[in-house]
């Protein structure tokens, strides 16, 4: 449970909530007078705490369900500072955590990591493997007899079901409900340019260019008017979205724009969505609601929930009201959303855990395909040799 935020700023600004930003308005507001007619009340923080959605009573009720899971949860420390939670997955000292929280922004592993368990024991941690698509890291501590988490691979909590995040302590880290059933968010096959557009009297004007995006690299500027992509004219915002989605990351596209009176053709190398640091309005609205995880989207299977979770609280088990472990928290993604990787997916990834590596059935499949292709090639080569020698024999018989 987080401490009550007594010093939370009162209504500093109101933000209307249209999705596109076009209908977007911002206006300073003054604190309101809650009571009748101006009898004062310096208040609302108190009301907010009193009617919080995570009351001490609720937290206490959850604690009986978390008793097992919390023994399988560790807090990852770096120089004594908590940076993530981790889940014990094997009694021989294997733990799972959120990879980007134990790496720096360039992907370099952080050093001097330790895991603090519920009994207070702290052990040094080594990273043995990462799984980029799920943003998971496999960790090793030198210990035996740890309590591994019990996955419930059959659990499919419906939207509206209560969930809690376990930490090493008795009380839950956060409480929320399932917002959306597990889905594939992997957009790694889609190319992104990193702009937002607005339709201004039939012209598609660039409203924003992501600060470090494919668009900014190509030299696109705010207020440029988009005319065509690869020679095909773009007339509406949805034209643009559909057209760009047909390209893969790292494809290069020709973007024709009008800047002032001048037409310009620029060449843009598309990126994956997560490689565009867009920093658009939506991000600003999300960010004012607290820190977000650096890596926060694109998981091939993830359940969405509404806990108020900190980025450093990801990596631990998620429990339902039956006390079952339904997944691992993987990201604080926005004001309204967190994601958890479902237990069934995790169990597949952990099939070879004692080798210190994630199971990658998709790699095995590819390897098999390569092997098959090589075998085919070998057969064709042999056939070719055989035919060649037949031809040679036949030619030899023909000669005088």
């Amino acid at each position: 449970m987080k401490p009550p935020l007594l010093h939370r700023p009162l209504l500093l600004a109101g933000w209307l909530l249209a999705a596109t930003g076009w209908g977007f308005a911002k206006e300073p507001a003054t604190p309101e007078d809650e009571s009748a007619d101006g009898v004062a009340a310096a208040v609302s923080d108190r009301a907010q705490d009193q009617f919080s959605r995570e009351t001490p009573e609720m937290a206490a009720a959850w604690s009986s369900l978390l008793e097992t899971a919390r023994r399988s949860t560790a807090r990852i420390l770096r120089e004594g500072k908590p940076i993530a939670l981790a889940t014990t997955v094997n009694e021989k000292g294997w733990l799972l955590t959120k990879s980007s929280e134990v790496h720096d922004s360039k992907g370099k592993p952080l050093v001097n990591l330790s895991a603090q368990f519920s009994g207070g024991i702290t052990l040094d941690v080594k990273i043995t493997d990462i799984h980029a698509r799920y943003d998971l890291a496999l960790l090793k501590v030198e210990a035996r007899g740890l309590t591994p988490v019990e996955w419930d691979t059959a659990a499919t909590p419906a939207p509206g079901s209560y969930l809690a995040a376990a930490g090493p302590e008795r009380l839950p880290v956060a409480i929320g409900v399932v917002s959306v059933a597990p889905r594939n968010m992997d957009e790694s096959h889609k190319g992104f340019l990193g702009i937002s557009l607005e339709n201004e009297e039939g012209n598609l004007r660039i409203r924003e260019v992501g600060t470090d995006s494919a668009a900014s690299e190509a030299g696109l500027l705010k207020d440029d008017v988009l005319i065509s992509i690869n020679g095909q004219s773009i007339n509406t915002v949805s034209d643009f979205i559909q057209k760009i989605a047909t390209h893969k990351p790292y494809d290069t596209v020709k973007v024709l724009i009008r800047r002032g009176q001048e037409d310009k053709e620029l060449s843009a190398t598309l990126r994956r969505r997560e490689e565009n640091h867009v920093g658009l309005i939506e991000d600003a609205r999300n960010l004012m609601s607290g820190a977000l995880s650096r890596n926060r989207t694109g998981y091939p299977a993830a359940l969405q929930h509404d806990m108020f979770l900190e980025p450093a609280e990801c990596g631990g088990p998620v429990i339902d009201l039956a006390g079952h472990v339904v997944g691992i928290n993987i990201a604080r993604s926005g004001r309204i959303e967190c994601f958890a990787i479902p237990s069934a997916t995790i169990v597949e990834l952990l099939k070879k855990v004692e080798t210190g590596k994630f199971a990658r059935p998709e790699l095995d499949d590819l390897r098999n395909e390569v092997k098959n292709a090589e075998a085919l090639l070998e057969r064709v080569r042999k056939d070719t040799d055989r035919l060649k020698s037949q031809l040679k024999d036949a030619e030899g018989g023909e000669s005088p």
Binding site: H7, L16, R46
Partner: protein, 436 residues
């Protein structure tokens, strides 16, 4: 730290309305979960995305269908104006044509209609006036715009605040695209429409359904009016000078009437029940507030009041809201630009008034001191957080309102005798008040 200061400037009152924290065992959580899961399934098909069909027109948000023939409630800033062509998208991806009806930009209530023939799935509307603070509610919508890849995300939270126009503040987190989407009670009835967010994740504002109902005919008749504002307690809003019971039904019970103010001058007495306000029957406090919001200071409104067995007619001349902390020229000091009314009620003209420098909370034992201003009069006099006040200058004080009443009757910088209990032991202290 600004809001911290804000909290300390006045005599804060912990307005404990509705149920306090109740026992929340696993059984309660499971029972609530069953309700939420059931309503989510039932109402999901009625939660639509509302987008402009004309690419050059702004607006994209959510809405909820409330009639078989396709009437949609949404936010004013989603539809923007009357007669815009809309595309309505159902959670399963089906798209139909629609048009925008009226919009009240001040409350942010809007209406739209599906223009294609058909029998549409719809939800019932509930009542926001009868909601208690602390009630559990469910928010749905299409955050970030419609997505084929996910159904409208479910969020569960509580109503923790209501402003004077009845707007609801909940801990159901919202984001862009949710605007116009529905807030449901645990029976699955619409009680609010998502409007705006204000800082922390728990500050999410929704138009109250009864506020929208108040404008129903105008909205249905395509009227568009008002201007964007998030603050209902603005300077032009009139005051009555009385405290009312927010929980009362079949009329509004007067809890307290302040001396020299409009209600007292009109002859209103505590214990009276206001049955009619400005010629219209009032069922509860919020209904009366909506009628009050149509008036301006100086207007005279008729009241019909039940006093014992008698029905009394009164004429109430509405007053002007006091604007705090202005200097002699009527300017707000520049170092405190946006803190607004943060001091207890003070009659009419601005000017210095007594200052305690402590937040007074409600507790089971009586008015209890919370945070103290570090260099404030209360702290200097030796008062401590947790002290429970019993008497000031011999007058018994039972709650925070009474504390502010007694103190504000004193001149600034007066010295008052505070009788209190500290850890159960009686204690008496002289407090030299400050001024603000």
């Amino acid at each position: 730290m600004k809001s911290f200061r804000f909290l300390l400037l006045g005599l804060g009152m912990w307005l404990a309305a509705g149920p306090s924290a109740q026992a929340e065992g696993l059984d309660e959580l499971r029972a609530r979960e069953e309700k939420v899961k059931a309503i989510v399934q039932r109402v999901m098909p009625c939660v639509v995305a509302v987008t402009s069909a004309d690419e050059d027109k702004p607006g994209s948000g959510s809405g909820v269908i409330v009639s078989k023939d396709g009437l949609i409630l949404t936010a004013a800033h989603v539809t923007q104006a009357t007669g815009n062509n809309l595309t309505i998208i159902f959670p399963d991806g089906r798209r139909v044509k629609g048009t925008s009806l009226g919009a009240n930009r001040t409350t942010d209530a809007g209406m739209a209609r599906i223009t294609e023939p058909g029998d549409w799935p719809f939800v019932e509307m509930g009542s926001s006036d009868l909601l208690k603070l602390g009630e559990w509610v469910v928010a749905m919508g299409h955050p970030g715009g419609y997505s084929y890849e996910r159904r409208p995300p479910v969020r569960l939270g509580r109503v923790w605040r209501r402003d004077l126009d009845g707007a609801l503040f909940t801990s159901c987190p919202l984001i862009g695209g949710d605007s116009g989407g529905p807030l449901f009670d645990l029976e699955g009835r619409v009680i609010g429409i998502h409007s705006s967010i204000h800082g922390s994740v728990e500050m999410n504002r929704h138009v109250a359904i009864d506020t929208l109902r108040f404008d129903w005919e105008k909205l249905e008749k395509d009227q568009t009016w008002g201007k964007v504002s998030f603050n209902s307690s603005n300077e032009t809003r009139p005051i009555t000078g009385a405290l009312f019971d927010r929980e009362s039904r079949d009329g509004v019970v007067v809890k307290q009437v302040f001396e020299d103010l409009p209600a007292a001058k009109a002859g209103l007495k505590s214990g009276d029940v206001v049955k009619k306000f400005d010629g219209e029957e009032v069922a509860n406090f919020h209904a009366m507030q909506r009628l009050l919001g149509r008036r301006k200071p100086g207007d005279v409104v008729p009241l019909a009041v039940q006093r014992g067995d008698e029905l009394v007619d009164l004429q109430l001349e509405l007053g002007r809201r006091f604007l705090p902390r202005r200097d002699g020229q009527g300017n707000v000091p520049s170092d405190e630009p946006e803190e607004g009314p943060s001091v207890p009620f003070v009659p009419e003209a601005p000017g210095p008034r007594p200052w305690l420098g402590a937040a007074v909370e409600l507790s089971a034992d009586g008015p209890r001191l919370g945070l103290l201003s570090p260099e404030g009069p209360a702290a200097k006099a030796g008062l401590k957080p947790g002290d429970v006040l019993t008497k000031i200058n011999g007058t018994a004080v039972k709650d925070a309102t009474e504390v502010s009443d007694v103190l504000l009757a004193l001149p600034p910088e007066a010295t008052a005798t505070f009788e209190l209990k500290r850890e159960g032991q009686p204690l008496s202290l002289e407090v030299k008040l400050g001024k603000k």
